[in-house]
């Protein structure tokens, strides 16, 4: 079966971002960018499916600017067979991304689409669920284990109370939690080979999807800083502070 993996180029998780002083957004000039960590888990899962003989072809897809080619090259270096770049100058909202991905699904006819549970820049946690709705497919979100068995998947999900297992029939959407797997690091020869693998470029506009934003960004601000704290010497002093200074004990 064919597996489609959605990957997003985001500010690296180690970067401490800065809010622009005019409140218009977050400063992303000259910061390290990488593949959304959850999407690395998605790709790793697809690669393991291929190793296990479940998947035959892995296609990575991203929506972004030409710079997102970097992210697709990383995906190809990890082991994706080919990649699709949907070129969009203005980053679409999750609803727009889901609509574009649904068009790719129509063209590519994968049996499984794997997305991250959330992109660590917008923290929306929506795209996979939206794509599932648009395709009228079942969804297995926040997956920490996926066992393929014939035409279905036994999927273990992380919930607020622990874990739950559901069974979903293919074709299906899966969104990943970080504990699904440990993504591999590409080796140098794989990085070299990835340079020869194909990336298809398509214009977002060519899909005939309305990408007009529904949410207007009024302003972006930094959260209130916490008041500087104090270092206390020992447990006794701490208890005293909690009781008599903070009044919380």
């Amino acid at each position: 079966m064919k597996v489609l993996v959605a990957v997003k180029r985001v500010v690296d998780y180690n970067v401490r971002i800065r809010v622009k002083s005019d409140g218009s957004g977050v400063d992303t000039d000259n910061v390290v960018m990488s593949m959304n960590p959850f999407d690395e888990n998605g790709l790793e899962e697809a690669l393991r499916m291929k190793q296990a003989g479940v998947a035959t072809e892995i296609v990575a897809v991203t929506v972004g600017t030409e710079q997102s080619q970097d992210t697709l090259r990383s995906a190809l270096a990890m082991g994706a067979d080919r990649a699709i770049l949907i070129n969009a100058e203005e980053a679409p909202e999750p609803l727009g991304i889901a609509k574009l991905l649904s068009k790719v699904v129509e063209q590519e006819q994968p049996q499984v689409v794997i997305l991250g549970k959330q992109a660590i820049d917008d923290d929306s946690n929506q795209t996979g669920q939206m794509l599932a709705a648009l395709l009228n497919w079942p969804q297995g979100t926040f997956a920490s284990k996926a066992e393929f068995e014939g035409d279905s998947v036994n999927l273990t999900r992380e919930t607020d109370a622990g874990l739950e297992t559901i069974k979903i029939n293919l074709p299906a959407i899966i969104t990943t939690d970080l504990r699904l797997n440990e993504p591999r690091l590409p080796k140098l020869p794989d990085i070299m080979k990835a340079k020869k693998k194909p990336i298809d470029m398509v214009e977002a506009a060519s899909f005939g999807v309305d990408l007009t934003p529904r949410l207007e960004v009024v302003s972006v601000s930094a959260p209130e800083a916490r008041k500087p704290g104090v270092i206390v010497a020992n447990a006794a002093e701490l208890i005293d502070k909690l009781k008599n200074e903070a009044g919380v004990l």
């Binding site: 889901a98 660590i120 929306s124 939206m130 979100t141 109370a161 207007e216 704290g229 206390v232």
Partner: protein, 310 residues
């Protein structure tokens, strides 16, 4: 304004986050309907009807709604969403799972995880693990919103007597079925709502030693939390994880013990009233946001603290 709130529950009791979500609805202002979608969840329906700020309860009772499957709840909510100006759910794994599905069915862009209501169409939400707050204005005719419970106080759970109306469910979604649930049983209070949380990180070193975290928590009647590193290492179950991808908590006191304070961890606890950090590395980033810090070996300080609290 007419607002639909989707209740989270386990068919026997209402989850406290529903009361916080109702407060966000009250801030938007208008008539509030609470939907209880479940199976034999009469006790939840009774609880829902008793909430003062709720004017109507919709009760959908069907075996297909027993386990919170997103496909079925989304179908149900989609059928009635157009009757409301706003549809709200808690930004828990339950709400995050089904509401975006409804949003796509309604062709609406959901506003995720709001922490403030500016007006009926303008909301504040954290992005970049809480390192920025964005204020967004929605132009959609129905506004679909998930609500961060720690950012809104709970409404009164009693004092009301709302009318209850039955809502029929259609056909269950084909191609998804519930298999099993593995719920963490803990004698400690619920992490999401406890006034005191004691969290341990990788510094605790082993599952066995994590008992010293639990002992301190027990002494203070606190909930136990953990960093992702501690969960990954198997010291604590996944639902103990606090952070960007775990739970968001805002207790009166949060103890971060053997936790470095990565931004992804801070995202889940930085709104706590008082933060106590115990770490042997004085350079650990957690000290930058801690109200009180102790630079020491946790294996010295934590047992001493536990002892002194007796």
């Amino acid at each position: 304004m007419s607002i639909l709130v989707i209740a989270e529950h386990d068919n026997s009791a209402l989850n406290a986050n529903t009361l916080n979500t109702l407060n966000a609805a009250a801030k938007i202002g208008g008539d509030i309907t609470l939907l209880v979608a479940g199976s034999d969840a009469q006790s939840v329906v009774d609880e829902a009807a008793a909430i003062a700020s709720v004017s109507k309860v919709l009760s959908a009772n069907d075996a297909a709604l027993a386990d919170g499957l997103a496909e079925n709840i989304a179908w149900l909510v989609n059928g009635i969403a157009a009757n409301y100006t706003h549809v709200l759910a808690p930004a828990s794994n339950f709400g995050k799972n089904f509401l975006p599905r409804v949003a796509a069915m309604q062709d609406v862009m959901q506003v995720s995880d709001i922490v403030d209501v500016v007006s009926a169409d303008t909301f504040v939400r954290p992005i970049y693990a809480g390192n920025a707050l964005v204020t967004v204005k929605s132009s959609d005719s129905v506004k679909l919103i998930t609500v961060r419970s720690t950012a809104f106080d709970a409404v009164e759970a009693t004092g009301g007597s709302a009318a209850v109306e039955e809502l029929a469910f259609g056909e269950a979604f084909e191609g998804v079925s519930f298999v099993s649930r593995d719920v963490t049983v803990s004698e400690r209070p619920d992490l999401a709502t406890a006034p005191i949380v004691v969290s341990g990180g990788r510094g605790v070193g082993s599952k066995e030693d994590f008992a010293i975290i639990e002992k301190l928590a027990e002494k203070m009647n606190a909930a136990v939390g953990a960093s992702r590193a501690a969960v990954d290492a198997g010291y604590a179950p996944n639902d103990f994880q606090v952070g960007q991808t775990g739970k968001v908590v805002a207790p009166d006191i949060y103890f971060a013990i053997g936790i470095s304070g990565a931004i992804q961890h801070q995202a889940g606890m930085r709104e706590s009233k008082v933060i106590v950090a115990i770490n042997k590395d004085e350079e650990a980033p957690i000290f930058q946001i801690a109200t009180y810090g102790i630079v020491a070996d946790l294996f010295d300080v934590v047992p001493e603290l536990t002892e002194l609290l007796s």
